[in-house]
């Protein structure tokens, strides 16, 4: 019962925090402390839930999807939508990822001077929406949370961004809206076909094959919009470059994973026949992400553009894992979701810290930063190494699993793209090293006095991410086993 | 032939012609005050028509509300906002022709539908005088039986109240202007 309430509290607590923070004075240090404490509580409870889920998976393994701590209440009776939340292995891990990124995101805005109250308020609502997405097992509830997040993103980027923020925010939100409309259309279709929104019930019903044939690509691409799959990736560079640090961390770390999560959890799970028909064709889009993405990153000078394209290529790997449709590849994709969440969070956090010191994101105008701010420099390099798949950090585990898993799919196109993806890891190394060398190494361009030392909260952010990357990189086995328990039912639906 | 037509029909035609003329004048007259006066004539014609359709209460309400309320209101507004008859705003002829064409098209289409429908050629009413008695209206309005109209009645009363407030708020002079 305690866990059940805790799960409900996960998304209610941020709202309550916003409510109670209204009377606190603007710019008072208590405001951010209060928000941080609330995010900390959510983080701790999500970790607690993860441990509970883990113990449950160990004690009674099952081939069915195991939904724990579910709450089911009547909600919108007119369309028989229910308030139905629960947690399983995959969602509990995503929850922890989101909670860590939200927590560090609040830390990253610690020195925000203007409008901290509104920023933190919206950031908490953003947090509530992602927690909601990961725990809701009712399509309507899922969609409500999914939409809430895009709106908050717009306000945060347009209000607190840098550079061409209006353009970036609009591009991001409108593109996401295209995806949402596609998702909504298919959700309505599913409801019309079956009369239920319940994900667990739906997974037991086989949707008609003709319906799956039309609906699957729409739903999959709709989710893929927020994960920036090829034809819909254009929001990502503009959006990331405009967003403030915390929002970039969130967008790349959590929001882009929500799309992939939806693809796996809803699109492939509910429409296995459609997946079998369409995913081999979607591999062509994935090829763009995986192979051309790093080459574009090589040609950019703006740190955030580089990271945005690096995210695009890494998300391509997630989709490669999904499209390969083997249990190992699915697990690799899920691992990559989490691993990439951490590494991209670290990337954007360090970029924000560097930007706040140098006031430029052009790598050709920087140099020798390692001398002045070694802590941040090392953080960036570790993120880079995780990105290029260095063993010992999480990226390698995920990428190796994806490659081995997707190679098991004997379809010719899948093989070709897997081979090309493996070979393209060199390109990843090129842009990451080029970026690190231009920025961190060489003689110091800006005088050392202009670069303040690393602040304690910045050190905390970097250290916490690095610990996550290393834990996932050195002890991947429990996480892999945990994810397998969630992924197996999805795979069983595929071969049914 | 013409004498075979019952009196009620003759009366209907007279009222109809009167209403059409009054409405036309209310629309095309160049003086805005005169427009309002002809509107009264139209409303009175409507009231007579209601009487013929056994809706005495409606006729009364029509006279009281429209003639006594709305049109007076309009006239007040005219007097408040303009010098009498001096602010005629001319419309270009092309717009008039276009408007006439549109209005005629609308009429033609709707009449075409009406004439095709033979169900409408019904002379007999199934309404009894008791149906349109004041007490029947009262009972229905205040009944909370399934066919009662208590809820709409209450809603309308709230709406009227809101309208009152809104109208006052909007028409009130701004604080800035007062200064």
């Amino acid at each position: 019962m305690f866990e059940k309430n805790l799960l409900n509290l996960l998304w209610i607590l941020p709202f309550l925090t916003v409510l109670f923070s209204i009377p606190i004075k603007e710019n008072s240090p208590n405001l951010k402390r209060f928000h941080l404490a609330s995010a900390g509580v959510v983080l701790l409870s999500s970790i607690y839930l993860l441990i509970q889920v883990f113990q449950n998976t160990i004690t009674n393994p099952s081939s069915q999807i195991q939904l724990l701590y579910e709450t089911k209440l009547n909600w919108l009776n007119a369309i028989s939508a229910k308030y139905f939340i629960g947690i399983d292995a995959l969602s509990s891990m995503m929850l922890v990822l989101a909670a860590i990124i939200i927590f560090t995101g609040i830390l990253a805005t610690w020195r925000l001077e203007k409008g901290q109250k509104v920023f933190l308020g919206f950031f908490q609502i953003l947090a509530a929406s992602v927690y909601g997405v990961f725990i809701s097992f009712d399509l309507v509830l899922f969609f409500v949370f999914y939409e809430m997040e895009a709106l908050c993103m717009y306000l945060l980027i347009a209000g607190y961004g840098s550079g061409n923020k209006d353009y970036g925010a609009k591009k991001l939100t409108l593109t996401l809206a295209i995806g949402s409309s596609m998702i909504l259309a298919v959700f309505l279709g599913i409801y019309a076909e079956t009369g239920t929104w319940n994900l667990i019930e739906l997974s037991k019903i086989a949707l008609p094959e003709s319906f799956q044939y039309y609906a699957f690509p729409i739903l999959f691409l709709g989710f893929a919009v927020s994960s920036s799959l090829f034809p819909f990736h254009f929001w990502s560079p503009a959006g990331h470059s405009a967003a403030p640090t915390a929002v970039s961390m969130f967008a790349a770390g959590v929001m882009m994973k929500m799309g992939a999560y939806g693809c796996l959890r809803i699109a492939i799970y509910l429409m296995p026949e459609g997946a079998k028909i369409w995913l081999p064709y979607l591999l062509i889009f994935i090829a763009f992400n995986v192979i051309i993405g790093p080459f574009i990153a090589m040609r950019h000078k703006d740190l955030k553009f580089i990271t945005a394209y690096s995210s695009i290529s890494h998300l391509g790997l997630i989709f490669l894992g999904l499209a390969a449709m083997t249990p190992l590849a699915f697990r690799g994709a899920a691992l990559q979701m989490i691993s990439h969440g951490f590494l991209t969070g670290l990337f954007f956090a360090t970029i924000g810290m560097i930007y706040s010191r140098t006031h430029t994101r052009d790598i050709t105008q920087m140099g020798g930063l390692m001398k002045a701010i070694p802590f941040i420099g090392v953080g960036f390099v570790i993120a880079g190494f995780a990105g290029l798949g260095l063993p010992g950090l999480s990226g390698f585990v995920a990428e190796a699993t994806i490659f081995i898993g997707s190679f098991e799919n004997p379809s010719p196109l899948c093989r070709v793209i897997t081979i090309l993806a493996i070979l393209s890891i060199t390109a990843t190394a090129i842009y990451i090293l080029r970026c690190a060398n231009k920025m961190l190494h060489g003689p110091l361009v800006i005088s050392k006095e202009l670069l303040p030392k690393t602040l304690p909260e910045e050190k905390f952010i970097i250290v916490s991410y690095v610990i996550c990357l290393i834990i996932l990189g050195i002890f991947p086995m429990p996480f892999a086993k945990l994810l397998d328990s969630s992924i197996y039912p999805i795979y069983m639906n595929l071969i049914r | 032939m013409i004498f075979n037509i019952p009196f009620s029909d003759i009366l209907f035609y007279i009222v109809a012609v009167f209403m059409i003329f009054a409405a036309l004048l209310a629309v095309v007259s160049k003086n805005i005050l005169r427009n309002a006066i002809f509107l009264i004539a139209t409303f009175i014609g409507t009231a007579v028509l209601y009487l013929m359709l056994q809706a005495e209460f409606m006729a009364m309400a029509q006279i009281m509300l429209y003639v006594g309320g709305v049109v007076v209101f309009i006239i007040f507004a005219i007097l408040l906002t303009s010098r009498l008859g001096e602010d005629y705003l001319s419309t270009p002829k092309s717009q008039k022709i276009g408007a006439l064409f549109l209005a005629m098209t609308f009429l033609a289409i709707t009449l075409n539908f009406l004439i095709q429908n033979s169900n409408l050629l019904k002379n007999v009413s199934n309404a009894t005088p008791a149906d349109s008695s004041l007490s029947a209206y009262g009972i229905r309005l205040l009944s909370y039986a399934p066919d009662g109209f208590l809820l709409p009645f209450e809603i309308i009363s709230i709406l009227l109240f809101m309208t009152l407030v809104i109208a006052i708020t909007i028409a009130k002079k701004d604080d800035k202007e007062e200064k």
């Binding site: 090589m298 040609r299 490659f403 081995i404 093989r415 060398n437 | 098209t105």
Partner: protein, 649 residues
């Protein structure tokens, strides 16, 4: 014994501990502490490694799987583990790596004394040793790859140790990217191999027989090939990984440029770690290579070509470290050649090639490490890498002089120094395997080796001082001691360990070659060639008539010399390739596609929507007549549409 083996995790743990403690706590403030800690841990590691490997060889040399920690299960039998496999090969490597790392650690205390960042240096050095040890004890190919990558990254960090020097930074980047490029093929090879064999474990992979896969087909995307061919193909891919790591031609250019790092780093990279990883990989997977058709021949040809190529370049260089770098390349070529020459005919294996290669790894490690340490000592005194600045150091640094004479004799292949024994076996192997041309190349290279090594030796120590050092030249104890220590294995490892290496034999599935031609004439022949090289070198650079300054002049030379001096312009070709083809071609095209073609499409779509929006917005200006007109027109449409025979009624 068993007790010791069960503690074999210490092999990995000691350097890892040193890395973690140094990296986290001692790196910035306590430089001295860092040096002492990592050196003492390295000493412990060396002692432990010696005990383990000695025990191992005494107790009969049977392979032992000391521990095996499950890292990540994939499907079924495909499980990635981190373990420790002790067999002859890995025991030998553990010993070499630990000893050399200990020597380099001691040396670094002296060498890095004045560097403010030496704490970081010791941390990274420990990481490097950790990764190399992890690589050599790997019981499965997945672990090999893990530590292979760690070796790559720690070498990147060490080569770019002085990160404020642009040349060091670009050299480290080049080293990492080139090896990474090769590693991507390695990873592909591993995935293909594990897909076919369903196992990462070396013992499973080495037990493969091509006949088991008769009739099976595998799709590689575009083409479908027999599984046995795919197995051979994957072997080739794995070899490409070793190709890059061991800097075989044409992926060799990172190795000379990697000299930008501190000299102890060059020393450890070139002698025992990193570059021999490629050779080690081939030796480790030797049974797989043995069954895989012509792959061993490719190994041999690549090795032989690199051997000659690098030796020729080494004869003209002026930078002392670059000479040594090219000599390393050449020696690696020897090892690859030896491994490759093991395949005599289609169905038989000549085991001498394998043992000669491993033997050469062992002996080469000591004398090459020593040579680099000597070079570092020289550079430390004259503050220049250039031979122009040296000369006449014989009297100032007598101990170093003596040690370098021993090392040069060893690498030149003069008995009784260690290099002679291993090189001799390589020559015999090449001859007996029936590759006369390769044999001639090897013999010629042995002549060249003697020539360029003694060129270095004479130019550095003999003649007159060509520059006046800022500080008085002296030998510091901490830097001379490891050099002198290393003379011991250089002197004795040859004839002491020859027997052990003869017993090295991988479990090859093919039959052993018999009736090999007698090769007793080879040792005297090799010695003759080496002595000829030394004499020629003496004539050019140390006799009374010679003029070292003129010999070092690179400007007034003929075109042929210049081409060699500029390393056949491979650096330039490489940079042009990267600039023009990768950055300028592929990446530019990708960005062009993204921004111009795709971006235009997106802009077009948005403009279209915006234009439609403008159109609709005009209709929403709040004009009541317009609304009514539209309403009536709509009615009209509806009227006509309802009268159309759409339903076919």
């Amino acid at each position: 014994m068993n007790n010791l083996i069960s503690h074999s995790y210490l092999i990995l743990l000691l350097p890892l501990l040193s890395f973690i403690i140094n990296g986290l706590f001692l790196c910035f403030r306590h430089r001295k502490m860092a040096a002492i800690l990592s050196t003492s841990l390295s000493f412990l590691g060396a002692v432990f490694a010696t005990i383990i490997s000695v025990n191992f060889f005494i107790s009969g040399a049977k392979p032992i799987l000391a521990f095996n920690y499950e890292f990540l299960p994939f499907t079924g039998t495909l499980v990635a583990t981190i373990g420790c496999l002790l067999d002859s090969l890995s025991a030998m490597m553990i010993l070499t790596v630990s000893l050399i790392s200990f020597a380099v650690h001691i040396y670094s205390i002296g060498y890095m004394e004045s560097d403010q960042a030496s704490g970081r240096f010791f941390a990274l050095l420990s990481l490097f040793v950790f990764s190399m040890l992890g690589l050599v004890i790997a019981p499965n190919i997945f672990q090999t790859f893990i530590f292979w990558e760690l070796v790559g990254v720690s070498s990147y960090l060490l080569i770019g140790f002085w990160y404020d020097r642009p040349s060091a930074v670009s050299a480290s980047k080049q080293a990492f990217i080139l090896t990474r490029f090769a590693d991507s093929f390695f990873l592909l090879g591993i995935i293909l191999l594990s897909y076919i064999t369903k196992s990462f474990v070396f013992s499973d992979i080495n037990a493969l027989r091509l006949e088991n896969f008769a009739g099976q087909m595998i799709s590689l995307g575009i083409i479908e090939i027999p599984t046995s061919d795919a197995l051979i193909f994957s072997t080739l891919l794995i070899f490409i990984g070793g190709w890059g790591k061991s800097a075989m031609f044409p992926l060799h250019i990172w190795l000379p440029n990697a000299m930008e790092g501190p000299t102890p780093v060059s020393s450890i990279i070139h002698s025992a770690t990193m570059v021999v990883a490629g050779v080690y990989l081939v030796a480790r997977l030797f049974p797989l290579f043995a069954i895989s058709g012509n792959v061993l021949e490719i190994v041999m040809i690549v090795g032989a070509f690199t051997m000659v190529f690098a030796a020729v370049i080494a004869c003209t260089q002026k930078d002392i470290k670059r000479i040594l770098a090219y000599s390393t390349l050449s020696q690696l070529g020897y090892m690859m050649l030896a491994l490759g020459s093991a395949r005599v005919a289609d169905s038989s294996i000549h085991i001498l090639g394998y043992s000669a290669a491993t033997f050469h790894i062992f002996t080469h490690a000591f004398f090459k490490c020593m040579l680099f340490l000597i070079a570092g000592a020289l550079i430390h005194q004259v503050h220049s890498n250039d031979l122009n600045a040296m000369g006449g150091l014989r009297k100032k640094m007598p101990w170093t002089y003596a040690a370098s004479l021993i090392a040069c004799l060893a690498i030149a292949g003069i008995p009784p120094f260690s290099g002679f024994y291993s090189k001799d076996e390589i020559l015999i192997s090449a001859y007996q395997a029936g590759h006369p041309i390769i044999f001639a190349c090897a013999l010629f290279t042995s002549f060249l080796t003697a020539f360029y090594m003694f060129r270095l030796f004479f130019l550095a120590f003999h003649g007159k001082m060509r520059s006046i050092p800022k500080h008085p030249v002296h030998e510091s104890l901490l830097m001379t001691l490891p050099i002198l220590l290393l003379t011991i294995p250089t002197l004795f490892s040859g004839f002491l360990f020859k027997g052990i290496f003869h017993n090295f034999s991988p479990e090859v599935p093919l039959s052993l070659a018999k009736n090999l031609p007698s090769a007793t004439f080879i040792p005297p022949l090799a010695i003759t060639f080496s002595v000829l090289g030394i004499l020629l070198s003496f004539l050019f650079y140390a006799s009374k008539k010679s003029n070292p300054a003129k010999a070092l002049d690179s400007d007034n030379r003929n075109a042929f010399y210049k081409i060699i001096y500029h390393k056949f312009y491979f650096d330039e070709i490489y940079y042009a390739f990267v600039r023009q083809f990768i950055l300028g071609g592929l990446a530019s095209f990708a960005r062009f596609f993204e921004e111009k073609i795709f971006g235009t499409l997106v802009t077009f779509a948005t403009t279209l929507i915006q234009k439609m929006g403008v159109l609709v917005r005009k209709a929403h200006a709040g004009s009541l007549p317009f609304y009514i007109a539209i309403m009536i027109i709509g009615l009209l449409f509806w009227y006509f549409a309802s009268n159309l025979p759409l339903q076919g009624a």
